[in-house]
């Protein structure tokens, strides 16, 4: 800026309202705490972290620096909790069809998370209308959890147990019940993508493709649950 070009950028009204002279560039996602611009997309693959706002039951985008502040459950009076980026599976004790049936979930893919405000486990599933909560037999959950250490390794509010009944899914993914412990922002990422791309009665080919890619990514990231459940941490 060595000339009157400097002030010229203010002379025309910018359609986006504000922006650093870049004109029509879309507003970047920002850290909900410090306001710094973030890399697009959730998850560990080049994206940014999320915090769970326990008080308002919402997800907040966060830069790495802010996310690291809230990895301890006591930080900020417990209001914010960083979503860990671990994905765990327990190949030594997969859920059986009978146990899945015992939970009484009417869909082929569901996630379960520990809501610390309610003090209990909540079951939800992705649907064309977004995330839908469904009834869960808590006694049955406790019973299944007693036999599966993976279900007990769940960190409150920030992680979820994803259960996929592969036979019913229609992605040609084989049989059996797949159980993964995943970051809760991944659940919302999946629910958002499905909602956005849902076509017709069963979602359509695009939705099946999204689901298959989502599961393949999680499987690649998944590590075996260690025998003693450990506290989740965020790497990087």
């Amino acid at each position: 800026m060595t000339s009157t070009r400097g002030l010229r950028r203010f002379a025309a009204p910018s359609p986006a309202g504000a922006g650093s002279g870049s004109g029509s560039a879309p507003e970047p996602e920002r850290c909900g705490l410090c306001g710094v611009a973030l890399a697009a997309g959730p998850g560990a693959a080049g994206g940014h972290a999320h915090l769970v706002d326990v008080e308002h039951r919402s997800l907040v985008c966060a830069c790495t620096a802010c996310a690291l502040l809230f990895t301890h459950s006591g930080a900020a009076g417990g209001r914010y909790r960083t979503v860990p980026d671990r994905v765990l599976r327990d190949q030594s004790a997969p859920l059986t069809e009978a146990e899945w049936a015992q939970l009484g979930i009417p869909v082929a893919i569901a996630f379960f998370f520990l809501n610390s405000a309610l003090g209990r486990v909540v079951a939800s599933y992705p649907s064309p209308a977004g995330v839908t909560e469904c009834e869960l037999d808590l006694a049955a959950w406790d019973q299944v959890g007693a036999a599966h250490p993976l279900l007990r390794a769940l960190a409150p509010d920030t992680e979820a147990i994803l259960v996929v009944a592969r036979g019913q899914l229609g992605t040609g993914d084989g049989q059996g019940i797949e159980t993964l412990l995943i970051p809760i922002d991944a659940c919302y990422e999946l629910a958002g993508k499905l909602r956005l791309n849902w076509r017709g009665f069963d979602g359509g080919a695009e939705v099946r493709h999204i689901l298959a890619t989502f599961l393949a990514n999680l499987r690649r990231r998944a590590r075996q649950l260690e025998s003693a459940p450990t506290l989740p941490t965020r790497e990087g």
């Binding site: 009157t4 010229r8 203010f10 002379a11 025309a12």
Partner: protein, 165 residues
């Protein structure tokens, strides 16, 4: 920084640089969201006085004597340039600026992309830099400068494709 503002406020270029520096300071100190609001604020004020200047220029109309009086003042001229309100067109302003530099450079034309094409009589490097600065000051709405080689064959620049008007 407040002490220097009185002398530098006679120059739109210096004020533009000062505004950028202050915005950068705000961005570093109070974060990007505060800085974005400040950018909008600056835009608001610049657009307000720009609208005022536009009304003044509309009131003057084609009165060349008054126009000449206004652009004789460097501050007024620089503000008219900020708002694309200068009474002279782009080519006339560039010719005037090049004329002040001396006989070294000649305007060939301004093409549809806003690129200024200039032919240099002497290929001296410092002349090129001075020409570039003079054009950036006199015609900030242009997007770049293309120096034609010395003694080129006749150029046909700035012609629109037929029917594109």
């Amino acid at each position: 920084m407040a002490a220097s503002s009185t002398e530098s406020s006679r120059d739109a270029r210096a004020v533009g640089e000062q505004v950028e520096a202050l915005l950068a300071e705000l961005r570093a100190r109070s974060g990007p969201q505060a800085a974005d609001v400040a950018e909008e604020l600056v835009g608001c004020l610049v657009q307000l006085y720009g609208a005022g200047l536009a009304a003044v220029m509309a009131a003057i109309g084609d009165d060349t004597r008054l126009q000449a009086l206004l652009i004789a003042d460097p501050l007024v001229e620089s503000l008219l340039l900020v708002h694309d309100l200068h009474p002279l067109d782009t080519a006339a302003r560039i010719r005037r600026a090049l004329g002040r530099l001396g006989p070294g450079a000649e305007l060939v034309g301004v093409d549809d992309d806003g690129q200024v094409h200039v032919k240099l009589a002497s290929g001296c490097g410092s002349t090129a830099a001075a020409v570039e600065q003079a054009i950036a000051d006199a015609a900030p709405e242009t997007s770049g400068l293309v120096m034609a080689p010395r003694d080129p064959p006749l150029l046909q620049i700035g012609r629109r494709p037929a029917g594109a008007i």
